[in-house]
Amino acid sequence: MNLGVVVLDKQMLDVNHRRCGKVDDLLLETNGEGCLAVKAIISQTGALARDMGPWMSRIMRGVYRLLGITDPHPVYIDWDLVTKIDVVVHLSKSREELGLQRLQNAISQRIIGRIPGA
């Protein structure tokens, strides 16, 4: 399986079929037979910025701090939680349980939710 094509950058849907971010990166490990295997999906809160260099990481960390996220870190989703891969990646837990709503919740509470009629 070519993970670069099949999994990376795909939309993820949680157990309730709600959008919960993209597959930003993969954590690989060597198994007992010396082969590489996927251990986890890495997503959100700085996963991409981390790959773009230290300056981008610093900018993103500043943005997260402004939004009240004091300890920004990417979310690691255990590969065992992937139930199906088709045109999207299906997960077996809700996005809240997986901690994939931090950024959305912060923007909602700090900015959008304060505008009348939101």
């Binding site: 950058d9 795909k10 993820m12 959008r19 919960c20 993209k22 088709d86 939710g113 505008i115 009629g117």
Partner: protein, 407 residues
């Protein structure tokens, strides 16, 4: 007619408005007619073909795969390369939004004699309020219905009695006017670049999902993309012809001159419909480019998007269009020529065209996503030809923008 059919056709109309007859499109078509008479009408032929082809394809991909255009742009290009069309869309759409808000404000200025700069923030707030509160169907159908006022250009075209025989000849065998070749090429590029901008396809495919199109709506997709494009092209043709008959030769006509040309044949009713039409298409295109940016960012990140969510439930999506409004006001108060910004927006959008067309074509040919709805070979051949032609032609706008005296 079913409500869904009305909404779907309105989606096609609104998408075409963004390409053919937004404020930049109106001004460009007017200049084409007033400076070059009928010698640029031929651009409508590849423009119509390309707009129908790619609009239909983006709608078909959305229906067959359940995925909007920007969603698979990132998937196919990877997150780094996909930043190019993303940032191009953000910058180009933000500049276009300034122009569209200026178009709304200019219509109000012509109606009231109060400067457009005074009207600008009110126009911006009005547009944001629609984005914030209106459902997609209301926004879509409402602006498309108001946009029908631009049919006043078609009525004016008939009444000014253009020489149809000469026009038919120019469509097939265009003559090169006695002006600098750079100016002529610049206008060719401006027209072709305006007919097809990436934000139209982001908007149309996301709109198809907002309208909840399913497999049985593929025919509706064809009808909607064809009717919408035909409407936009006919209005565009009418503006060129009215300007060619009433304003030629005039190298620097204003929007008011076009209004006077319409009033000359349709009196006060023509003037009122002209103002409503300019306001409506500017509003429609402003909504389109704001939503298109919000769709793009949310889809790139994989977050919730769409007008069926309350703003607080799709916060990234709502944040993007909300931030664009005050930024547009800041740009406008600097005194920059807002209509001139559309040229820069077009150049930036042109740069990102291949990054939109290539993933779209790849996915449209992938049976995993499309099932039986993959592209046929004639569609592929025409799409590749038009994509290469359009990319080459529109990218050439960049040096032309720099040449003194051309733009």
């Amino acid at each position: 007619m079913r409500l869904k059919t009305v909404g779907s056709i309105a989606l096609g109309l609104l998408t075409a408005v963004g390409g053919f007859v937004d404020i930049g499109g109106i001004v460009t078509a007017m200049q084409a007619g007033s400076q070059f008479r009928y010698s640029l009408l031929w651009t409508l032929i590849p423009g119509i073909a390309g707009a129908i082809l790619f609009t239909e394809m983006s709608g078909r991909v959305a229906v067959a795969s359940g995925r909007p255009v920007f969603d698979f742009i990132r998937e196919r290009l990877g997150y780094k390369l996909a930043l190019i069309p993303l940032f191009s869309a953000i910058i180009a759409n933000s500049l276009t939004l300034v122009a569209e808000l200026a178009g709304m404000a200019l219509a109000l200025q012509l109606a009231s004699r109060v400067s457009y700069l005074i009207w600008f923030p009110f126009a911006a707030f009005f547009l944001w309020l629609i984005l914030w509160k209106a459902s997609f169907s209301l926004l879509d159908v409402g602006t498309a219905l108001l946009g029908l006022a631009t049919l006043v250009f078609v009525a004016s075209m008939v009444l000014v009695q253009p020489p149809w025989g000469e026009i038919a000849k120019e469509l097939v065998f265009p003559s090169i006017p006695h002006v600098s070749i750079a100016s002529y090429l610049f206008m060719v590029v401006s027209l072709l670049g305006a007919y097809m901008t990436p934000y139209q396809f982001y908007f149309y495919s996301s709109g198809a999902m907002e309208e909840e199109w399913k497999g049985e709506d593929l025919i509706l997709n064809r009808v909607s993309s064809t009717i919408g494009t035909a409407f936009g092209a006919v209005v565009d043709l009418a503006i060129v012809l009215v300007a060619a008959v009433a304003l030629f030769p005039n190298n620097n006509p204003g929007l008011g001159d076009l209004g006077s040309a319409v009033t000359g044949v349709l009196d006060g009713v023509g003037w009122v419909l002209f103002l409503i039409g300019v306001f409506a298409v500017s509003l429609g295109a402003g909504l389109e480019c704001s939503l298109s940016t919000a769709y793009g960012v949310a889809q790139y990140l994989g977050f919730d998007w769409g007008k069926h969510f309350r703003p607080r439930d799709a916060p990234v999506f709502s944040l993007v269009y909300t931030v664009m409004i005050p930024l547009a006001i800041v740009v406008a108060v600097t005194g920059v020529n807002p209509i001139g910004l559309t040229l820069w927006a077009m150049a930036i959008a042109a740069f990102s065209l291949p990054f939109t067309f290539v993933p779209l074509l790849v996915v449209a040919n992938d049976p995993l996503y499309m099932g039986e709805q993959v592209n046929s070979w004639p569609v592929n051949a025409l799409a590749i030809f038009l994509a290469i032609l359009l990319s080459m032609v529109t990218i050439s706008v960049i040096p032309l923008l720099i040449l003194p005296g051309v733009s």
